[in-house]
Symmetry: C2
């Protein structure tokens, strides 16, 4: 008998009919003799409806009160799912985040879970009940309602699985797993049956649509086996676990990419200690997130410095960088917001030399010019012109045999 935490997102519980479908899936699992805790999101569209109501009152709703109204979305779903289970003869009980004491810090709208009191849930499970918990929400030490931010229900599910030492945390969504790359770009893309937490984190640009990144970090930290699978089709999905579970690891697990990048370069900066900080400090102060950072040393005691930001921040970042460059006595600033990032991800990369050169060769064969390179232990990222995105991803998918 296993203990399973299942999480169903907004599109999986978007109508009374869909909630009935979820109840059937929960019952199917339970009929295998397992205990089930279910975490649900607000019905699709509901969070936006509540936001619109708040914004009709004031364009800038205070954070605490926004959490009070948003938390009602999941509260509606837990009641409905618990009703659907009971209507099918299955004992069930619903709880809000506050009721099972999902203790968070007081950062309204993006609170972090600090502790969960699993006692009440355990007692219900012992009494043969399915426990239905509202995702996305918690309560701070003063009893104020908090929310975890968009996608926070995944984090709730993982945190509950960790607190209950569950055997598996299953994230039900509208895709049937994690793919080697986006099937819309490469039709041969293959569903991965197994992937490590680290790889999943590096696959963020693909994975973010499937799984909230913070929930993967949480699962990794507490070693919770995490499975992504479809609400609407049967299938094993993708299991996300830690590396050392004796898995025969392929060199490369997948290819992630990001269309929303823009690149900024400052050329001929006098090469002194602290120059990187001088350049990026004002960018960070403007709340612009920086993705890749590359620095080359040039010959004449000056350096070239390149970084990427989200495309939406490009104009703002250019303005700031021009100011900074002027102050630092740099030669030139240039930028390009028509670039994309393509990343090879795989823990096998660590023990296999030659991945990088194979990657660069595959791109060169397609005459794709690499504008920037950055590497981590389990990832190699290149920046290329936007127009080469599809071609580059397909070439790499083929070169590394990911379709097999």
């Amino acid at each position: 008998m296993a203990l399973i935490v299942q999480k169903y997102g907004g599109t999986s519980v978007g109508s009374p009919e869909l909630i009935a479908n979820v109840a059937e899936k929960v019952l199917a699992r339970r009929s295998q003799g397992d205990d089930v805790v279910v975490v649900v999101s607000a019905m699709s569209g509901e969070t936006n409806r509540l936001l619109a109501l708040a914004r009709a009152i004031t364009p800038t709703p205070p954070a605490r009160e926004l959490d009070v109204i948003l938390a009602t979305g999941e509260q509606v779903t837990i009641a409905l799912l618990s009703m659907a289970l009971q209507a099918r003869g299955c004992p069930a009980c619903s709880y809000t985040g506050a009721q099972v004491h999902i203790l968070t810090d007081s950062t309204h709208n993006k609170a972090r879970i600090m502790d969960i009191d699993a006692q009440r849930i355990r007692r219900d499970l012992e009494q043969g009940r399915v426990v239905v918990v509202a995702g996305f929400q918690g309560v701070d030490e003063h009893g104020n309602i908090t929310t975890l931010g968009r996608g926070g229900s995944d984090t709730t599910a993982v945190a509950l699985a960790a607190a209950l030492a569950a055997d598996e945390c299953q994230i039900y969504t509208d895709v049937d797993g994690v793919y080697t790359t986006d099937p819309r770009v490469v039709p041969e893309a293959r569903r991965l049956s197994l992937i490590t937490y680290e790889e999943m984190l590096e696959m963020a640009s693909l994975g973010a649509k499937v799984l909230q990144i913070r929930s993967v970090e949480f699962a990794s930290k507490y070693d919770v086996p995490l499975r992504v699978l479809s609400t609407f089709e049967d299938g094993p999905g993708t299991l996300i676990v830690k590396e050392d579970e004796g898995m025969e690891q392929a060199q490369i697990s997948g290819i992630a990419f990001n269309r929303d990048e823009a690149k900024l370069t400052v050329l001929g900066v006098p090469d002194q200690p602290g120059v990187a900080g001088h350049i990026l400090g004002p960018i960070a102060d403007a709340d612009i997130e920086v993705d890749m950072i590359v620095q080359n040393v040039a010959e004449d005691a000056t350096t070239d410095f390149t970084f990427t930001v989200h495309r939406n921040d490009f104009t703002r970042a250019m303005k700031i960088l021009q100011d900074t460059a002027h102050k630092l006595g740099a030669r030139e600033v240039n930028g390009d917001d028509r670039i994309v990032k393509i990343s090879l991800v795989g823990v096998g990369m660590r023990s296999h030399a030659g991945i990088a050169s194979k990657m660069f060769r595959a791109l060169a064969e397609e005459k794709i010019n690499i504008r920037m390179i950055s590497t981590s232990e389990i990832k190699i990222s290149v920046v290329v012109d936007e127009k080469y995105l599809e071609l580059g991803v397909r070439a790499l998918h083929e070169a590394f045999g990911l379709a097999q």
Copy 2:
């Protein structure tokens, strides 16, 4: 500086615009230097929307889960009103029933308030905040969400006023006070500026549309001055207080009536101790509420026994009564579901003889036959044929000079 508890019902908070209007009314009161606690209902239509969702899941939603979903209605309103106040520069904070620990028993869907922890509210008031509390809901000793039943927000407001020893509890609604009778029946009906709790309770059939009866009992028990007034028009409304506040009391305060009555009579029942219990026991067991009860002793050691029920329960009640009558050896059973009840209400009745005869004379002059009479200390009720309702009420309104 006074402490005022204000309650706004669903039609008063039915849209973002109306919520803005409520915020203005709260601010106006606050600008007089008073502390304000506001209790709100769900936006009009919301409770029905939530009920429909629940019934789309199951025709008989379990009571506990129904409370979980229904409680979201008020939670949305408290957040919106608190936002509207803050957007106007007024410090405000919202609380659900559970957050201010409105402790109830565990009777889901119609729970009773047992205790309120006013400490948190008091602290907020001391810090200059308006406190916005969700009506209609509470929490039981196990942390389960409960609701007080339709109209329960009035009770929340009165209970809070009692717990805070507020100077006045103001119930804002869509009428501007309590009238001598229904103005749709008697256009000359007059708004009462003052009425006692007891009279208000006896005026139930009129008052129920204005004020939840349970809240009046609560106000009476804890001696909370209660004022009914309009959200949409300025005016003093009707103040409901206890009798001994030195008021010059008119003989009659108002005329209540009830269109939904049906009358059942069993004739020639052997007159033995306990016969009333034998007749009404099976009716009560079928969850049929009995309103008036009249028993006459006939000559031949038998008795005639008449009672009224809600018209919807008439057919069921007749069936039960026929069974009972047969067992008791009664002579005959008859019934009439085309009758209405008209009641004169007034604490002044106690000290003024002749009210009853004046009433009967006024009805006789209009050739209205009285089918049944029942009296209490401050009320005289008669049952007449349905067709005489308007005529009877107008005649009495005129005879007792209520328009002046």
